[in-house]
Amino acid sequence: MALYSEKVMDHFRNPRNVGVMENPDAVGEVGNAKCGDIMKIYLKIDDNVITDVKFETFGCGSAIASASMATEMIKGKPLDEALSLTNKAVVEALDGLPAHKLHCSVLAEEVIKKALQDYYERNGIEYDRSLFPDCESCEHCGL
């Protein structure tokens, strides 16, 4: 189908790092089933570096591809680098997404931030709250 780039279809058909993780160091989940997209991400973190990552997604092709690409982009990266990953970078790496699918890449950016926030909270690490998504104030789903 011409709706998506070859890159998107490749990540959708062969998602990287898909699955669940035993004893993760951090977990993040965003979206809700009502609006049709949920992303969940599991991280292993060692010495401030993401050593392993797994994801699960309920959603459309571009949601699955965005999550897959995002996990590839943060694997083996230091936390501050993962934190600075933008949805724009995910879209570019996928060779673009249709306009009405851009929110899928936003979910991919947010789910990583959510997991990192979880890591900071679990370990009592101080962090700048303004850098993190706040699901309640987001009006994307219109809920």
Partner: protein, 398 residues
């Protein structure tokens, strides 16, 4: 790759007979039916014959048929016409249902902004409404009842004849959007007591961009397109004769083979329904009995419809879904919501709509493809994990 087209409710492949009827209209019968000369009169004759043929297929008279650009235009014109006649008498109330096609719902919305009051009947969980619901909703100021013949997503066939009787008794005009039914189910407009009935050629192996509006003798139509005197002055614009001739041929063909087609198609449908029902935690949408011969529609818990369609496409199965992602909006199908499916499972819907070209072997191939794909997507779904781990309750039975 083995490919199976199972999206015939979206559109169909044109039939050989329809194509053969169209081709001479591009080359030999190219005149304008409004012209006085011989080529024009030849075209006028072909147009007249098409109108006779279409009328005969639904038990109407030729002059009761107005050719349009398709089902949407026909629905728009029927509703607007009834509304304009209604408001002349101070009647500005319309009864319809929550799961009509957008060609109806959006036209009603426009009338609502003009001050009309619209009652949308609730649809039962089985995808049906009752004549009693219509009777209860009719008021002294009701100027139209609009109920579809068969739903385009879940295929449920409404008790049109009984609703027609209710409308006749109450002396309220009755419009029936029969886009999914014409050519597939027997239709006799006199028996059904309809005042307006709409159809679209490409749903019964005719060409795209053409349809018709049946308006009972004596009904006053309001023009949507002003201009020349075509279609008794009720629809301006030079007639699209190739498409109209193709539609007439397709409809004749569909009506002539209706019984054998329905028998063949419903056997494939039944095999699909039986096979797909074996997938854990899925639910059939729409009544099992009162449904179109070619419609199969399921919701699967824990997955989303667009990704299901993409993977089925990879396997050569071409279907559709009512998920938000396939519509470009954030809401899933209004039809699935109208029959009470929660958002969560309405996103995971699959519609397979069949034609006489589909076989039982196709059904077996689709069942296997659906089983594999649903299970693959559930394997990566956090929603499915929560359901299977008991963190959230299932909505459907195993």
């Amino acid at each position: 790759m083995h490919t199976i087209y199972a999206d015939n409710a979206a559109t169909t492949k044109i039939s050989q007979r329809a194509l053969e009827a169209m081709l001479p209209c591009f080359t030999d019968v190219y005149g304008n039916p409004s012209s006085l000369h011989t080529p024009g009169q030849k075209a006028a004759e072909a147009l007249w014959q098409a109108r006779e043929d279409v009328a005969a297929c639904i038990g109407a008279e030729a002059r009761e048929i107005t050719f349009t650009s398709g089902g949407s235009e026909a629905d728009n014109q029927a509703i607007i016409s009834a509304a304009r006649q209604g408001e002349k008498k101070g009647k500005k109330h319309i009864v319809s249902t929550a799961f009509e096609h957008h060609a109806v719902l959006h036209t009603l919305n426009r009338l609502k902004k003009e001050g009309f009051e619209i009652t949308l009947l609730d649809v039962h969980e089985n995808g049906l409404i009752t004549p009693g619901q219509v009777a209860d909703a009719i008021r002294p100021d009701t100027c139209l009842v609009s109920v579809m013949f068969a739903n385009n997503e879940i295929g449920t066939v409404q008790p049109v004849k009984e609703i027609g009787a209710v409308c006749r008794e109450a002396k309220v005009p009755f419009h029936c959007d029969a886009v999914q039914a014409v050519g597939h189910l027997p239709i006799d407009v006199k028996e059904l007591n309809v005042d307006f009935l709409c159809a679209s050629a490409h749903k019964f192996h005719g060409p795209k961009g053409v349809g018709f509006l049946y308006a009972k003798k004596g009904t006053i139509l309001t023009n949507l397109i002003e201009g020349g005197a075509q279609e008794r002055g009720k629809r301006a614009g030079t007639e699209n004769l190739p498409a109209i001739a193709g539609m007439a041929a397709a409809l004749k063909d569909a009506v002539a083979h209706m019984d054998e087609n329905a028998e063949k198609i419903s056997a494939v449908r039944d095999r699909l329904i039986e096979g797909i029902s074996a997938v854990p935690h899925c639910v059939l949408n729409g009544d099992r009995e009162q449904r179109l011969p070619g419609n199969v529609n399921f919701c699967f818990e824990g997955i989303e419809g667009e990704s299901l369609l993409l993977l089925l496409d990879d396997k050569g199965v071409y279907a559709s879904s009512g998920s938000a992602c396939t519509s470009g909006s954030l809401d899933p199908s209004h039809v699935l919501l109208a029959i009470g499916r929660p958002h969560e499972i309405a996103h995971g819907s699959l519609r397979l709509s069949l034609s006489e070209e589909n076989t039982l072997a196709d059904a077996d191939y689709i069942i296997e493809a659906v089983e594999e794909t649903v299970s693959l997507l559930r394997g990566m779904s956090p929603v499915w994990r929560d359901l299977t781990e008991g963190k959230k309750p299932f909505v459907t039975e195993e």
